[in-house]
């Protein structure tokens, strides 16, 4: 991409007087210069996700003068996003993220052409959307979309500037670049869904997507300008707790079905690939549920039953149902001896998803009288006890 731009220098758009002033600190940088800034103006970048990673990436790519930025996101701004998603502000809560992003980025740099896609990236639309951009920045929050972005980038020959975070740990690389490895070379298969905690369940240090997103923006700019050594063939590991950065070799796997053997010739069903059924909403089939009002009635009536909270201790400290006892889901298997087959068991968590898995496990080992609190603490707060904090 960059070589082509260099060769077609005369095809690059001119900078206006305003732009020359705005980008002056780039223009005097020997690694960028006017030629590099014109390459940025000529470039187009697609951001998949306007969340934690997409926020700093979008702000810096817009500020840097990338000519055309596309953003794909179907979500709305939630107050719990604001701890890390710095693209959005308090007054944006409830708005579409793409609307909030468009307003903020127009303020950051009016010279940038913004294009927004109010949709989830899917096997049906990914090739068409990605095909219109020079490179992709992967800021998604789930494995299904990450494999989708990867495969689409490999098929289209577009570099995928990858970043991923969890708690204090981050990863970054440039994938699917010409001759380089892809996401499937790094992780041939996704973990099973039961081993995948979301940021909503596992937490994330708010500044970590800032660190990793800025690394992604840096790599995107380097690729466009054609300077430095991109993270192609290298995996950068960021440990924000110890503040150590490590770089591993990321080699192309000759048997990779995407970029090696090329047996993946079209996009597949990524929900299925990741073990997710389309209707998965946190309450697996056949899990008996009790409503918050039903549970409140049983508690008030003095019923004898075992109320079990399967969240993490940190969540328990935020707020709990007083009659409950704490058995974090990851310790459930070793605590089964504390359960009584003769008593009813009601299990809850934040949203009802983890507790559904706990009920499934309890039933599988013979505790037939187990129920899941539908909607978890969130619905309990909405329907029974408004003093219960929602988080």
């Amino acid at each position: 991409m960059t070589a082509t731009h260099v060769e077609k220098h005369t095809d690059l758009p001119e900078l206006s007087r305003d732009e020359i002033l705005r980008y002056s600190r780039h223009l005097i940088l020997p690694e960028v210069t006017i030629a590099g800034q014109r390459r940025l103006k000529a470039a187009s970048v697609l951001l998949v996700g306007a969340g934690g990673l997409g926020s700093p990436t979008a702000l810096y790519l817009a500020a840097a003068g990338v000519g055309r930025i596309g953003i794909v996101d179907f979500d709305e701004v939630d107050v719990t996003n604001l701890q890390r998603q710095v693209l959005h502000g308090t007054s944006d809560v409830g708005r579409k993220k793409i609307d909030s992003a468009r307003d903020r980025l127009a303020q950051t740099n009016p010279h940038v052409k913004l294009e927004t896609f109010d949709t989830r990236l899917t096997s049906e639309n990914a090739l068409e959307i990605i095909g219109d951009y020079d490179l992709v920045v992967d800021g998604t929050d789930n494995f299904a979309t990450r494999y989708l972005v990867n495969d689409a980038c490999v098929l289209l020959g577009k570099p995928n500037v990858y970043g991923s975070i969890f708690r204090f740990d981050g990863q970054a690389s440039v994938l699917a670049a010409e001759g380089g490895p892809c996401y499937r070379c790094l992780f041939p298969e996704p973990p099973p869904p039961e081993l995948v905690p979301s940021c909503a369940e596992g937490g994330v240090l708010g500044v970590l997507p800032g660190l990793v997103g800025v690394i992604q923006a840096t790599e995107a700019i380097k690729l466009i300008v054609g300077t430095g050594q991109p993270l192609i063939g290298r995996l950068l590991l960021v440990d924000a707790a110890s503040m150590q950065f490590k770089t591993m070799k990321l080699q192309r796997n000759p048997s990779c079905p995407a970029c090696g053997t090329r047996e993946i010739r079209e996009l597949v069903d990524y929900e299925q690939f990741c073990g997710l059924s389309p209707e998965a909403d946190g309450s697996p089939d056949g899990i008996p549920e009790i409503t918050p009002v039903g549970l409140a009635t049983r508690i008030e009536g003095g019923d004898d039953f075992d109320l079990v909270d399967v969240r993490q201790p940190e969540e328990w400290e935020i707020g709990k149902i007083p009659e409950a006892r704490l058995v974090p889901l990851d310790t459930l298997t070793s605590c089964l001896g504390d359960f009584d087959t003769g008593r009813d068991i009601v299990v809850y968590c934040r949203s009802g998803a983890r507790s559904a898995r706990a009920v499934a496990e309890l039933k599988s080992v013979g505790f037939e009288r187990a129920w899941n609190l539908a909607g978890g603490i969130i619905r309990w707060s909405e329907e029974v006890d408004p003093t219960m904090p929602i988080y």
Partner: protein, 91 residues
Amino acid sequence: MSIKVSLPGVLAKLTDGQNTLDADGSTVAQVVSDLAARYPGLGPRLQNADGEPYEFVTIYLNEEDIRLAGGFEAAVSAGDELTVVPAVAGG
């Protein structure tokens, strides 16, 4: 033989909070077995029930992906470092 093993924070809760551990073995498999014996919670996060590596956990021997260096049978020697990198999807 003492091999240094580096874990991400998310797995360190299974090793009493330790991000770096010393383990013994002359192959990656032996190092993993040593760790699994000492930290029962960690074992199933590094290998499946058949003792094989996962496709969603990449282990590096120094800087090299062990998948391209013999997998769990890759030889290790004193002073080597294994870095465990599970797939994470947060964004």
